[in-house]
C-alpha cells in the first residue's frame, strides 16, 4: 500500500516535533539532575569543610593541651588527617580535582565558578595558605617532638588558628550556602524547563488535534458530499445500476430504479444468479453466469463478446405480491470496471424496454394485420356493400348456430355425429357464400373447418373433447369476421364500398356478382358456363329473406356447376354446346308466395351413383336400395353424408350442400323439389309461403 506523504506531512512533522521536544526535555532533565546530584556532593563536601575547619582547630588545641605522648599522637593524627582532607578538598573546589568522600571513596569535584563561591574560596585560600605553612612543619616534625622550636611553631599555629578560625568557618559556610544556592537555582531551572517542555508538548498536542480534526472534518465532508452525489445519481437514474464482484455478488450500492424494475427486494450481497432465479429461464441464467465469468477474464475482448450476452433482451416474469406475474422486457448491459489494469468489478445496467418491445410488436402486428386487411379491403371494395353486409350478418348467425350446436349436450356417439353433421351443413353454406363473394381466405378456412369435421365424422368413437380444435377454429373465424365487419363499418362511414347505396334492395340485385362467381367456379373445374338471371329486381323482398335467398342461390349455382354441368369435352361428346347454361329465376305469385328455381343443362342426376354411394356409406342397405322409388332416391340427395363427386374441394363434394339447403329452406318454412333427367339437366325449385315473407318483413 502506498502512503500519500503530502497529505500527512503536517501531522508527521507535528508528531516528530512533539517527540523531539519530549526527548530534549528528557535530556535536559537527565543532564540537570546529574548536575544537581553533583552539586549535592559539592554542598556536602563544602559542609564538611566547615566541619573540618573546626575539627582542625580542635585537634590543634588538643595538641597544644596534650599531657601525654599518647594524647599528642592522637591529636597529631587527627590534625594531619583533617588538614590533608581540608586542603585537598579546598584545592578541588578551587580548581577541580579529586578528594575523598565522607565514605572514603574518591570523588571528583568541578571547580566552583559562581562569583560568590569563588570569592569565598579566594579569601579562604589567602587565610588557609599561611595557616598551612604554619601547620605543615608542625606535622612533619611531629616525630621529632619535644624541642623548643616545636612549641613555638605550635604556639604560632594555634595563635593563627585562633585569629582566623572563625573567618575560615564563615568562608566555608559562605561556600556551602553558595553551592546550595547554585543547586537550588539549577533545580529551579529544571522545573522551568520541564514546565516549558510540557507546555510546548500540550501546545503541540492541541495544534495536532486542531489540524488533524480540521483535516478529518474536511475529508469527511468531502466524502459525505461525494456519497450524497452518488446517492442522488443512484436514486434518480432510470436504469438499474449495480456492481458485481468476481463471485458475482451484488455490491452494497445500487440504483433505486433496480428495485422498481425487479420488484421490491433487498439486494445487497445477493448472488446475481439468485436475482435471476425464477424470473428468467434456468438456461439464460446459467449462460449469464458463464458470460460474466468471461468478462472477468482479461484475455477476452470485451468489445468482441457483446453478442454473447444472453440478457441483452430478455423477457422476465416478476412475481407480484398478489401472486400474479408482471411481464417485462429487460435489457442487461455489462461492462468491466478496471482499476490499475485489474478488472475489479463488472458494472451491470438494467433497462426496462417493455415499452419499446411492445411498440415494436404492435408495429409488427399492425403490419401483418395491415397486409391482411389490405387483402380483405380489396375484396370488400370490389364487392357489393349490401351483399357483403348480408354475408357478414349471415356469417355471425351461422357461427352463433354452430356455437349453439356445440353447446347442446350430447352423450352418445350418434349424438356427436349428428352434431358434427349439423355443423357441417352450416359451415358448408358459409363456405359457399364466402366463395361467392370471393372471400377466398374465409372459403379456405371454412374448408379447413370442414376437413376437421370430416375427420370427426370418420372417427369410431366421438367425445366432446374431440371438438376442441373445432372451437379454436371457430373462434378464429369469428375474430376474422369481426375484423372485416369493422372494416366495412369504417368504409361505410367513409362512403366507400357501395354502402351508401339505397337501402331497399329491390332496386338492383347482384347478377354481375353471381356471374363472376359462376365463372370462377367453372374455371376451377375446367368448365364453361353462362349464368342467366331473372326476376330478382321485380320481386320486392325483405332484407332477411334477401339474405337467405342469396345464400341459397349461391349454393345452388355452385351445385349446378360442380355436379351438373359437364366439361366442354364431355358436352361435345354428348352433342351439346361446350358452354353450359344455368338459369336462375325468381317468381312472385299473386298470393305473395315466392318461387326460386335454378336449372342447368348438365348431365342430370346419376341415380345409380347416388344409390351406390348411399350403400357404400352405409346409409341404406343393399336390399333396401333395390326397392327405392324415384322420390326416395331424390331424398337421399338431402342426406347429410352424401356426395357423389369423388374429389373434395373448396367448391363442392362434401355432399352437405343439399342437406344445408333443405335446412335453410325448412327454417324459412319452405320446401324443395328436384327434377332431373339423365343427360338433359336438373332443376331445383324452392317454394316459400307468403306468410313467411310477411312475418319476416314485419320483423
Amino acid at each position: 500500500m502506498k502512503l500519500d506523504f503530502g497529505k500527512y506531512r503536517g501531522i508527521i512533522v507535528s508528531v516528530a516535533l512533539f517527540l523531539l521536544l519530549d526527548a530534549s526535555v528528557l535530556l535536559m532533565n537527565f543532564y540537570i539532575s546529574f548536575e544537581i546530584s553533583e552539586d549535592a556532593v559539592g554542598v556536602n563536601l563544602a559542609g564538611r569543610q566547615r566541619m573540618l575547619s573546626q575539627r582542625m582547630m580542635k585537634s590543634l588545641l588538643d595538641l597544644d593541651a596534650a599531657d601525654s605522648v599518647e594524647q599528642r599522637q592522637l591529636a597529631m593524627a587527627e590534625l594531619s588527617q583533617t588538614v590533608a582532607l581540608f586542603d585537598n578538598t579546598l584545592r578541588a573546589f578551587a580548581s577541580g580535582g579529586e578528594t575523598l568522600s565522607a565514605e572514603g571513596h574518591g570523588v571528583m569535584l568541578g571547580a566552583v565558578n559562581s562569583p560568590a563561591g569563588r570569592q569565598a574560596l579566594e579569601e579562604a585560600k589567602t587565610l588557609w595558605l599561611p595557616f598551612l605553612q604554619r601547620l605543615d612543619p608542625l606535622i612533619d616534625r611531629h616525630s621529632l617532638g619535644g624541642d623548643a622550636s616545636y612549641a613555638a611553631r605550635l604556639h604560632n599555629a594555634v595563635a593563627y588558628g585562633r585569629a582566623n578560625n572563625l573567618t575560615l568557618l564563615r568562608l566555608m559556610n559562605a561556600l556551602t550556602v553558595d553551592l546550595e544556592n547554585v543547586a537550588a537555582s539549577k533545580a529551579k531551572r529544571l522545573r522551568l524547563i520541564q514546565t516549558v517542555g510540557i507546555s510546548l508538548a500540550v501546545l503541540n498536542f492541541f495544534i495536532i488535534m486542531f489540524h488533524f480534526l480540521r483535516q478529518l472534518r474536511e475529508s469527511d465532508s468531502k466524502i459525505e458530499l461525494a456519497r450524497q452525489e452518488t446517492r442522488e445519481i443512484l436514486d434518480t437514474v432510470n436504469e438499474g445500476l449495480f456492481l458485481l464482484d468476481r463471485d458475482q455478488h451484488i455490491g452494497s450500492q445500487y440504483s433505486h430504479a433496480l428495485l422498481n424494475i425487479l420488484g421490491q427486494r433487498e439486494l445487497e450481497g445477493v448472488a446475481f444468479a439468485e436475482l435471476l432465479d425464477g424470473i428468467v429461464s434456468d438456461r439464460d441464467r446459467n449462460t449469464a453466469a458463464g458470460f460474466i465469468k468471461l468478462l472477468f477474464d482479461p484475455r477476452k475482448k470485451q468489445k468482441l463478446i457483446g453478442d454473447l450476452n444472453p440478457l441483452r433482451q430478455v423477457e422476465v416474469h416478476i412475481p407480484q405480491p398478489d401472486g400474479s406475474f408482471a411481464n417485462k422486457h429487460l435489457s442487461f448491459g455489462f461492462s468491466r470496471v478496471v482499476i490499475d489494469g485489474e478488472i475489479v468489478h463488472v458494472l451491470v445496467t438494467v433497462q426496462d424496454i417493455s415499452r419499446q418491445i411492445k411498440l415494436a410488436d404492435e408495429l409488427e402486428a399492425a403490419k401483418v394485420q395491415g397486409e391482411e386487411q389490405l387483402e380483405l379491403l380489396s375484396t370488400i371494395l370490389q364487392s357489393n356493400g349490401d351483399l357483403l353486409r348480408h354475408f357478414l350478418s349471415n356469417s355471425f348467425a351461422s357461427f352463433q348456430k354452430i356455437n349453439g350446436l356445440l353447446k347442446q349436450p350430447a352423450k352418445t356417439h350418434q349424438q356427436y355425429i349428428d352434431k358434427a353433421n349439423q355443423i357441417f351443413a352450416l359451415i358448408h353454406n358459409y363456405k359457399g357464400e364466402a366463395a361467392a363473394l370471393e372471400l377466398h381466405r374465409f372459403a379456405r378456412q371454412a374448408h379447413q373447418f370442414e376437413e376437421l369435421l370430416d375427420g370427426l365424422r370418420r372417427s369410431a368413437e366421438l367425445s366432446g373433447n374431440d371438438f376442441l380444435g373445432l372451437v379454436v377454429h371457430l373462434n378464429k373465424l369469428i375474430a376474422q369476421t369481426e375484423t372485416i365487419q369493422g372494416l366495412v363499418e369504417k368504409l361505410g362511414t367513409l362512403g366507400l364500398s357501395g354502402t351508401s347505396q339505397v337501402a331497399s334492395s329491390s332496386a338492383t340485385y347482384a347478377y354481375p356478382h353471381w356471374s363472376l362467381f359462376a365463372e370462377q367456379v367453372a374455371e376451377r373445374q375446367g368448365k364453361e358456363v353462362e349464368l342467366l338471371c331473372s326476376g330478382f329486381n321485380d320481386v320486392p323482398l325483405p332484407k332477411t329473406m334477401e339474405a337467405a335467398l342469396n345464400t341459397l342461390t349461391v349454393q345452388l349455382i355452385r351445385n349446378a356447376i360442380s355436379h351438373g354441368i359437364e366439361t366442354p369435352e364431355q358436352r361435345r361428346l354428348a352433342q351439346k354446346p361446350p358452354r353450359g347454361e344455368v338459369d336462375v329465376r325468381l317468381l312472385a305469385r299473386a298470393d305473395g308466395s315466392i318461387q326460386l328455381s335454378v336449372e342447368d343443362d348438365g348431365d342430370g342426376i346419376d341415380r345409380q351413383a347416388v344409390i351406390d354411394t348411399a350403400v357404400d356409406r352405409g346409409l341404406i342397405d343393399g336390399a333396401a336400395a333395390e326397392s327405392l322409388d324415384s322420390k326416395a332416391i331424390m331424398n337421399l340427395i338431402f342426406h347429410p353424408q352424401l356426395s357423389t363427386r369423388s374429389e373434395v374441394d373448396e367448391d363442392a363434394g362434401r355432399g352437405v350442400g343439399m342437406h344445408a339447403i333443405r335446412e335453410v329452406v325448412r327454417e324459412l318454412g319452405g320446401r324443395v323439389t328436384i327434377q332431373s333427367r339423365r343427360g338433359r339437366g336438373t332443376r331445383f325449385q324452392l317454394f316459400f309461403p307468403a306468410e313467411i315473407n310477411a312475418v319476416k318483413s314485419a320483423a
Binding site: G290, F291, K301, L308
Partner: protein, 123 residues
C-alpha cells in the same frame, strides 16, 4: 505483420474474410475448411490470429479451439459464427477464444473485430 489463418466451411465466408481484412496488418498464411485441416495447418504455419467457425465437419469449432489453445496459449482466436445459441459461444471463449463475431457481418465489422482482437499487440 501478423500471420492469420481462416477456418470456415463456407467458401463465401472464407473469401469474404480474405477480401475484407486489412492486408497491411494481416497476412493470410492458411485457409482451412474444417477443424481437422485447421489443426494440421496450424502446426505448419503457426499463425498469430485465427478466425474460426463453430459448426464444421470433422473436428468442430469448439474442439478445434480447445486444441489450438493447448498448442499455443498465446494464439488469438476470433469466433465467427451464426450461432444464436449464446451458451455455445461462451463455451468457445471458455475453450480459449478471445472474441466473438456474429454472422452475418459487414467487412467493416470484421476489420474492427480484428483490430480489437490484436489491439494489445500494438500498444
Amino acid at each position: 505483420m501478423l500471420k492469420m489463418m481462416i477456418v470456415d466451411d463456407s467458401n463465401i465466408i472464407r473469401s469474404k474474410i480474405c477480401r475484407a481484412h486489412d492486408s497491411e496488418r494481416f497476412d493470410v498464411v492458411a485457409i482451412a475448411c474444417d477443424g481437422a485441416e485447421a489443426l494440421r495447418m496450424f502446426h505448419e504455419c503457426r499463425p498469430d490470429v485465427v478466425t474460426m467457425d463453430l459448426t464444421m465437419p470433422n473436428v468442430d469449432g469448439l474442439e478445434c479451439i480447445a486444441k489450438l489453445a493447448r498448442i499455443d496459449p498465446e494464439v488469438l482466436i476470433l469466433v465467427v459464427s451464426a450461432l444464436s445459441d449464446q451458451a455455445t459461444g461462451i463455451e468457445a471463449l471458455e475453450n480459449g477464444a478471445s472474441g466473438f463475431l456474429l454472422k452475418p457481418f459487414s467487412e467493416e465489422q470484421l476489420r474492427e473485430a480484428l483490430d480489437e482482437l490484436t489491439e494489445h499487440l500494438y500498444d
